[in-house]
Symmetry: D3
Subunit: 244 residues, 6 copies
């Protein structure tokens, strides 16, 4: 995965077990507008970058959200730092949780969802397991996770909040815009958000016209003028020889 | 997986980057009748053959389709040949797409679905990823895929249409009958279709009677007369020793 | 996975190809009450033990059952012993099926479900594949399985019924209480069931109060008095340095 | 996986965070003799039972060991209990380590291997990750593990020593005989060890004769007298029709 | 995976439980010459087709073989048909074994290897498990398999010999040329073998020259004249901005 | 995975299809010294961070290298940018290659290795497949890869060189120090390299003393003074009740 160049300040030492309190977020109107377009369109609009891996699946279908990433780096099977992160969340945020080594334990359930919902948080993206999916579904708190697994976690070891993380094989900086729907999860760098929104609008406008022509029976081969290039590359059309 | 002997003509050279235009298809009444029985029954009726692997999952539940395979062999993360294949599809067909090496990229989305739907194509089976599943679900275009992943693809490298492919660890010839439902995907060789239909009808008739006896409380052990064979093989019945 | 010490009698020889007929079951009122709490709560109430692995997924959402385990150890891709096991099932039981080596074949479908339902069996947990999921869903017979796969099985080789098995990387004794819902499957040793129920009730009572405080906007950091311990462990709060 | 009936005493409550000190072990001459036969022969000799799953791989080829299981149940990514378990090990033992939920962290490296080697422990079986494989190979301390991964672990949460565990999808009681070689890991119940040894000797004697006949060019079809049974089941021999 | 058009005769019915005795094989000098080039070169020489999937791994390093495929389609965890297939093998053949549904059981060990070796068979390709790898390595009988697993199999259910199979997600016809080395397994259609050999020789000659230029420090960018095309596509060279 | 704060300059726009020419590298003496310690020690010395995932495996055992990362972001199954990247490599570098979506194709073989070797490059880390492993082993060019797969790639689509990438679920900046051995791959931020080296030296000195005490038979329980803390957390020692 290629990364957009880092949007965060330059440090010259490793910093661990720290909570960054005052992250910058993108403009909320831009965030909400990106959410309307959804994952596939935004991903294309920013040059086919920013997608997290397909192992992150929605626990129920139909949700489409966008928000600002509050990130959590924590140990495997230890959810202590999620409690710490809740306090850093504002209305409109999405919590992004990544263990430091692979875990499918159930870090998150209905109690934490109640707490996040009370703060206006829009959803959770976690490179691990969640539980209470029946309750999460009933309360309409969407989650994209690697596993559904009830396995309980401990609260023993620290991690960090609002540091860059790798989640679902993708890179997320705190304050990045997260878009998530049934297709998965896409990340837009905070400073790129306005430009990506414009590109998404342009793409959608173009696609709307193509969609109508396709529905009317025109072929993509003709709409996109592909036939000549295909022939140049050597594509041949043959009749299947008769059999009988 | 054992394959039904090849239903396609004999060639004596490798042929690549070619589109076969006039494939033979099975009788449409037979195809539709096979679709009523569904995957499990058809698979059993043809001697437990023809099933594609369980990694191919329906993107939404409840669909059950049957149709003639238009096959596509294409490169990883390059969907150019799907555009080529659309033109070869007729009403009643099912598109079967197989990359030449493993890919979970999102080859297919709502625009291509609009195009296929306009031609009367019944669905897609793809050994890779798809996207826009929310739109595909809304328009009722069923897809069996290995992944849901928005990752965009390129249009740079040729492949072939209507050649034999391996899809989901199974073998599909162009013109084969594809049956797909919540249980997965099953392939019936074109020339076998009528016979398999008869076998499916016979099986279903027999199962209907068994089903009623089971519902009434009879045991499979008795209906299938298994007790003697089990005893001959050495099955013993014991009482669990008391504990307390 | 740590196991609760074995609840079954001590033997001094390997016993194979045997059906134990008279297993002990837990009190049915206790079983039903455990089912109300569901997997996550029961798992926590018994000290975070007893969970089967997340590869066992419900074939449809919304079911929550509890019952007594009738266990089946059988060969890969051979479902003969399921027919044998049906006879050992009573109303309120849950069938737990484990192949002796990995298999994703479709051991179980609508006919066996009809038979089990006629006997009052509440569901199936199987470390392998099932089929006819459309019919199983329509008849409301819940299944937790590793795969949906129509691949037919044979009836050639014996196994055992009501012996200890490893299913979904967890250990199940015959007569154990099985709880299953959208979060997965949890096992409670028969003799522990009453105590675990009490612990689950106590846990739920406590969680209900916490849930209300979280909904009202209190933080887990404060409710659980975590701040001091976090500081002792060395958690630091920093402001993100300005960028512009 | 079917389990041999439990070899351990009956308890009536869940016991956690406990170290059992005085486990019974099988006769050391029997253990050593089983080790000579290796995994495949012992597995067959006890009726094709006792094998752990193929995800447990030797970190270097050529080792073949047998010993008494000292078992450890511990949290994901926390290796504290291995330090506790070392003290319970004697010469001739094999440490068997199973996390309570899936982890690929590196629980074990050269320091722990030095400690175990000093006590005469013969090897490690772990359903998780190890590191320092270069050092472990150099010192000739064999390990069967799910992953090679350097990821460090913490020492925060208790577990238990010498309780029954599920490791590699198989069940291991403390004091069971472990056999491990390039084919994987096999478990023999302590009380069965002497009988399994006799069966292994008998099997090996028979196989030695068959091996010589096969080397001389005789066919298994004839040695095992399979032809009649194959014909009865319906196997047909055909000539491939000419093509040209 | 795209398939070379079928090299086998046309049939009009499904044929199961059959052994085809007299398959055609490619010229032995051609086969041996293909083996010298190895998997990667042959795969490229035939247009990047014919490769089986990377899940098929050599059980020991350093072997490189080529031979004629004798194919076996058999049930999961049942190795009866391998005994049947041995009789159909000649010197120079390679056995290719594919279960009808996924299995990691240990179908093959030292006894069968002795028998095949006595007949001059060069190796085994199996989409399942093998055992006795220590013995197989010692006797120099190379195997490409999906798993090393000692799990025993039964001899209860028929299959077929010398029918087309899907193995490792690739298609193999009886009599195809199999090339296998540390890179995996490649299949060449029998009738294409002579042409592919010529193409491999041409490719190797060209690569030898390129290799020398690369060793001398020339860049592929220049040898292959890529710079202009890269610039046309829009590649830009930038200096990393200074940091300090 | 938590990331060390970004070591690269701040940009305010997405930049694609670009080659950065003049990356900064760490001091070569520091790099070489880190290589002596190896992956596990360096990973621990920098606070258990920086490890790439265990899916990246060495193609042969025994190599241990350290060098400066030249990073490549490229499309799935398209290795064009590797040719571009070669020119940016100097003696002492390690090439780090990451596709933008998952691919197991064989991006890299003996020709590219010859070219890199001619420039003094020390090895390759690639989140995809490689081939010609027999040749790579013979020439002593070490590779850490996700798959060995001969599948050929195309040269059609651009990517970038010396941009941040996610490789093996870890984050790599151009110029980072890469350490790789049989335990996997570890990344040290360029600016941290000198400090991490000091910490590694301190850790190794301490471990050397512990190693000697363990070899002499002392227990980690005593060396690390764990007994009191274990008792405080509630660990109990029990005797296994007699059975006979």
């Amino acid at each position: 995965m290629q990364l957009a160049p880092a949007d965060s300040p330059v440090h010259n030492m490793r910093i661990m077990n720290v909570v960054y309190r005052n992250i910058d977020r993108a403009d909320s109107a831009v965030i909400d507008a990106l959410g309307v377009f959804g994952v596939a369109t935004v991903h294309e609009a920013q040059g086919r970058t920013g997608l997290l891996g397909p192992m992150l699946r929605a626990i129920y279908t139909g949700a489409r959200i966008a928000g600002s990433a509050v990130t959590v780096s924590l140990p495997p099977a230890d959810n202590w730092m999620i409690h710490v992160a809740v306090e850093q969340c504002r209305a409109g945020d999405i919590l992004v949780v990544a263990p430091t080594s692979a875990s499918d334990a159930g870090y998150f359930g209905d109690l934490l969802a109640c707490s996040l919902k009370a703060r206006g948080v829009r959803g959770l993206v976690i490179d691990a397991g969640v539980r209470d999916v029946r309750d999460l579904t009933a309360m309409g708190f969407p989650v994209w996770a690697k596993a559904v697994h009830a396995q309980g976690t401990v609260k023993e070891t620290l991690g960090s909040v609002n540091v860059p993380v790798v989640c679902g094989s993708g890179h997320v900086n705190p304050g990045d815009v997260i878009i998530a729907d049934d297709d998965g999860v896409c990340v837009v760098a905070r400073r790129d958000a306005a430009q990506v929104l414009k590109d998404a609008e342009a793409r959608e406008a173009k696609e709307t016209k193509v969609r109508e022509r396709l529905r009317a029976g025109e072929l993509g081969l003709d709409i996109y003028a592909m036939r000549e290039k295909l022939a140049q590359r050597g594509l041949r059309y043959l009749d299947q020889p008769g059999e009988d």
